[in-house]
Symmetry: D2
Subunit: 437 residues, 4 copies
């Protein structure tokens, strides 16, 4: 985890204190269930809750683990120090360490998913706001980096909104994948613990019982989770690349917000670098790097091997923390993006009407010219416009073959409004009935 790309809310989820708190709650709820089943004394279960508001001493737990080489035993020993060794002897009865570890891990992932969802919500809100703001701000559409036909900046934001909205649905599904818990004992047979314990703990912790676990919760769930984060990261890259292109010196259609006092480039006013979106491009690569190891984690030996563990100690905090940071950084960039509509218009007009050539061609064909004749007419005027840096429309209007074919109303082929007439329909498809920001 790279501290400078981390928000405290997400870091807290992966903090040892949080993890031990979750472990405690799992163990305590399990004791309640065991007591209800008559497996352990009710008083023992009640006693465990004495640690409800205790702060766990991380250093102490680490010290114990250094001796026992076992994290859960270290925690339980420390718990005994808090609630009393005698009362604590019934804790963890019939459970295996993974019952605690995996259930807690999934709770952390669910919480992480909730934070990520908030980040996606903020990104979507920003995209929606800017989409409506620039619904009809004309801009040249580009394929292959080359001017094609007009579109609007609002449509650009709207498509990113649609993409990020899909990512919300994906993240929701990914969260569902890992919202399971398992308290099923050493190899998942419930040989030494009643399934009722699992049911109780899961209900209390907001999870579904894993229908069938081994010693662990199956890792295809986590593979899907991290693969989904990889897709979201790629969408962030997609938006970042668009903004970087808009900001490049020759395009200058938009800029990341640059605070007035921001040091460094004020001597070179043209030198405002899209460092935030470049950073997002890199963060996307970093988050994506969790996908392959998560996929490699699926195939474990028999009822479990522990090779997945070190991987998850790395990718789980890293991928969620960096993605969370990236979503908020992206939201900030979108919210404050400085847009230059005049530059967009200047770029749109750069080729003096040539971007309308396809539409002229179509109109001539529809007006009855053969495709070949229409093509020849468009081509000769387009080439002339290109080579002489002349106005394409003027040339066309001076070409008798063209004017003979086109009725006067069609001469408005260069009208931008033509390209924008379906924008509302598209917005309705993307944003639905709620056309308010």
């Amino acid at each position: 985890m790279i501290p400078r790309y981390a928000r405290p809310e997400m870091v807290a989820i992966w903090d040892p204190q949080t993890r031990f708190r979750i472990w405690f709650e799992i163990e305590a709820h399990a004791c309640d269930a065991q007591a209800a089943l008559g497996v352990i004394p009710k008083e023992a279960a009640a006693a465990v809750w004495k640690a409800k508001d205790a702060e766990f001493d991380i250093a102490r737990i680490d010290a114990i683990e250094a001796v026992t080489k076992h994290d859960v035993i270290a925690f339980l020993t420390h718990l005994g120090e808090i609630v009393g060794a005698e009362e604590a002897r019934f804790v963890h009865q019939g459970m295996t360490s993974s019952d605690v570890l995996d259930t807690a891990f999934n709770i952390q992932l669910c919480r992480a998913a909730d934070l990520l969802m908030a980040g996606l919500d903020r990104v979507c809100a920003a995209l929606k706001a800017r989409a409506f703001e620039h619904r009809l701000t004309p801009r040249i559409g580009r394929s292959h980096g080359i001017h094609a036909e007009p579109t609007t900046l609002g449509l650009t934001f709207a498509r990113f909104f649609a993409e990020m909205d899909r990512n919300r649905a994906r993240l929701r599904a990914a969260r569902e994948e890992v919202a399971t818990g398992a308290i099923s004992g050493p190899v998942g047979t419930f040989a030494s613990i009643d399934p009722a314990v699992e049911a109780h703990v899961c209900a209390k912790m907001g999870l579904r019982p894993e229908p069938i676990s081994t010693q662990i919760i199956p890792r295809d769930r986590h593979a899907m989770f991290f693969a989904t984060l990889g897709v979201i990261a790629s969408s962030i890259e997609n938006i970042a690349i668009e903004i970087r292109h808009m900001q490049r010196s020759e395009v200058m259609e938009a800029e990341e917000y640059f605070s007035p006092g921001q040091k460094g480039s004020s001597a070179m006013p043209h030198k405002r670098n899209p460092v935030l979106t470049e950073n997002l491009t890199g963060l996307a690569r970093l988050v994506r790097s969790a996908v392959v190891p998560a996929l490699e984690n699926v195939a474990l030996w028999h009822e479990r091997d522990i090779s997945h563990s070190s991987v998850e100690r790395g990718i789980a905090p890293d991928a969620t923390i960096h993605l969370d940071f990236a979503l908020h950084r992206l939201a900030g960039v979108i919210e404050k993006l400085v847009v230059y509509p005049e530059r967009m218009r200047a770029n749109l007009d750069r080729f003096r009407g040539l971007v309308h050539s396809q539409r002229v061609l179509l109109a001539l064909t529809q007006a009855g010219m053969t495709r070949e004749a229409a093509y020849a007419a468009v081509q000769r005027n387009a080439m002339r416009a290109w080579e002489q840096e002349a106005d394409f429309k003027a040339l066309l209007m001076a070409d008798p073959e063209v004017t003979a074919a086109l009725p006067p109303e069609d001469r408005r082929l260069f009208d931008l409004a033509h390209h924008l007439r379906h924008v509302d329909a598209i917005f309705a498809r993307v944003f639905g009935a709620d056309q308010t920001v």
Copy 2:
């Protein structure tokens, strides 16, 4: 695509003839819609359907493309040769090549997903059948490759069923992701084509209109699709690894089916290699290799760049064909897997009862011994059993401290049935009400 790892059904989806057939249908339906809108003559739309049952001449289309360097134009030219150039001049009106290419690509992916689903269904059916067959076949559960506690082979199959059943849900979601079509023109603004055309074509082809497209359908959808295939492939590896372990010489709990006449190893009867599951392990790597490039395909420049195209020409057929083959190979392996319950039992008994040591420990604790005393009692007998290769149970029953603590009925701690008593409950969770195979 590696021909030996390909089934003809899936290969056919990626065959040029299939692709051109889909292109034709898209264009013909688009003509119908354009005719209904009055954009093109009804007769022209009707004429296009003359090619309905025609075989397209791939070599001819290739020859035209070699000149025009444009695949869609080559196809349209050839279509004109079939239906007549005059009738064909209204085909593709207002459309851009990507309207055809992307919509067709998604149709191919949907069909591929349908075939993959059939493969998953077959795998699930095989797993379910074997799960019920071996519901109570005892087997040692292993963590870290080391004997832990007893489980059953049926539980192993049941958990793989649950995993593959999850993959069905994932594949269903992945298919939904790519079940969209777009006929929205050069930069997605519908400037030269009415959205009604898209609606009609999508309805006819079983797709939803893409709410907002640029020149292309957004690639986050395909990233999610291929990421899902990567997860499924990893699950295949998971099962393959289990079978490879079961078949290794020292374990020999199961073997891939080996036909009586199968040449080569009959002089070495012990040498039956799990080559199918090893192959599946490799195929899993191959399918997974599509995930990263699919993620890298998301960030395209502006309204599109064509860098995704070459990637998809490779990964789309390769990943779907190899995964389809792998699913059916896996199903065959499971269906015909030769199981050796006696070997399972022999392995289970290998350590003369030591696998029950945890349960004894728990029973002693519950019988009132302190954890320390119970531990000491179990340990001394376990170490003796281990070092002297003696029977653990016999030693325990000869230990006065143990027999003093344990009531006679608890001496049945070594009863396997104890470990199997929740199997039915787990099966009910996995297979639901339908407990028939």
Copy 3:
């Protein structure tokens, strides 16, 4: 393998005929060595060479394999049909299939590496030629996509040359990695074959004996090989991205060559798409996708498992064929790239001298102004130039504080030559003594 991204030379290396030819040579040389050792009759060894110029019947071999399910046995059976079953019975004596398969595979990889090297050579030659051609063609250098300071197009080509030249060294090392052969029997102990056979075959086939093999040649070698191809692919992407940027409508500093008759965009003369470099971007992703599975192939079970095989059937032809194609496509793009020096100059001058602001700042500091005062002077004039779209140099020369500090000769701060004075030195570092193209 995608046929349209394949050159016949590389495809031929992976052709079954080539593979069987190599298998034959390995077997025949092995017979010679076995005969020399007296293990098999000299006549038998001589007889095998009867197949020296034979065309192998692939369909026949496939038919035999369909029965025997073993590729090497199928080949040997067919070889027996050519040279006579009696003479053929000594072929393959003491060898295991992998002795042939792995040695042949490495020969194919070496030949592939040789072809790739030729491709790299062509790319390097093209880059060198264009570097010298444009050694002093001024161009704005950009960091973050934003204008920074002047450089030359020749330096751009020169750095790509240096990168591709490094790739030559890497490919040379990668070829060395896989230039080994092994004829060491079932588990690599030479139990049934003398090491002299391996030595003879390797000498004849241009390989080094693998110092220690198991049944197979260790796969860390191949992992390194494919990782190297992944690096080369990334360098291709690097150059491709540069060209795509140069060609985008607002930059237009260079274009992929567009043949005069090339159909499609002549009606839109501004619409010349960098489709070749976009394609190269995608091919880079495709080639890179071989890296991870090659790394996953390293860890095999004990003396071998065959999981690597299906992976290599895919990635070996695919990665080498696509990379080979990509190198030649890239070379063609560079050789014929249409360069627009005037556009470069226009872009360079776009900000009316502001790109020199750093240099002015430095000069003022060196002239004795404090950094703060110098900064303030530069900043006020830069901001004025930016906001009023005025000439930066003119404004500076009208600023008394500046002219007081700067001696007249320093007023030539805007001289481009200043930025180009080390170009020759850099060229000497990159191209060495050989400054001819």
Copy 4:
């Protein structure tokens, strides 16, 4: 970076204090060179060295960076606080931040490579020692996890030595890749700084000048570096998997060292889990995850974009720290691996001689029997041995057809020594003349 998988030596390399120390040295040497060129006063250069033994105040630098949003400026400001603002004003003259950042980064990578080399050396030494110790310890060789023919444990260690020795060569090459420095100014043209400064700094810091840089050192170098780490990680996984297999309950040929007092499993003496090698398997995945983002970092925009930076902030410390830890963990595992030669022998004899069937077949053929007759003879005895759990050799020696063919001396076909006779030759190939440990 996961603290529990980190050694302080490697962590120190990535410590801010180390980084600032390197930055300082680069700046101070650059001042010397600038002073020698007469660009800055000799006194200013000398003054900078006042900070030679200073501890940099990280918190202070962070505080400045929080304001300036620029790490190098923050450092320089703090440096000014140490050496005096006046003296410090000549520091960094003509340089761009990346001159410092990239040169320092490469120095860190070189130091990391040196530490990794020490780790590889330790692994190699351990492997060599164990190889010689078990040069002739017989062990069954396995292909596909199935018993094949005898080999020795020494050969297993020897081949891992050879693999790790290759990794030393690769790491050496990878270190060379990144052992370059660049002090070439904003876009790499040396416009504001003489190449002599770069030469001086590089000489002092143990680097070669980068022949041609832009604002940054080209990232194909780093891609190759991290790809190499990925290969080394895969080799670690390869050895880890072998040990995990040896330790599994049914094989038990070796075990990770288990300290006598180690808590937890002493009540289950059979339950000694190979947790270290499982952990290494996971760490291998983690280290490998750096490869793809490093490859994606190669293609930057024009003279640089900063997307690589966040990636490297993650992967550079993470991959080197975890790989370093893994190498030492692996070395420890090998050094202390508990080997059970008797279990190896028992496994070898498990199939009562059937592992020699191939050799018998060969002997019969060489003795003049047709392949078919020999095959039939071997097969019928092998099947009988298999089905009746009888001794293969005894059956063969009782088969008249066999005894008729085989001369008495060939009856020693079951002699293990036959399989070991080339071990010395192989050791000579692997370890060369130095056959001492």
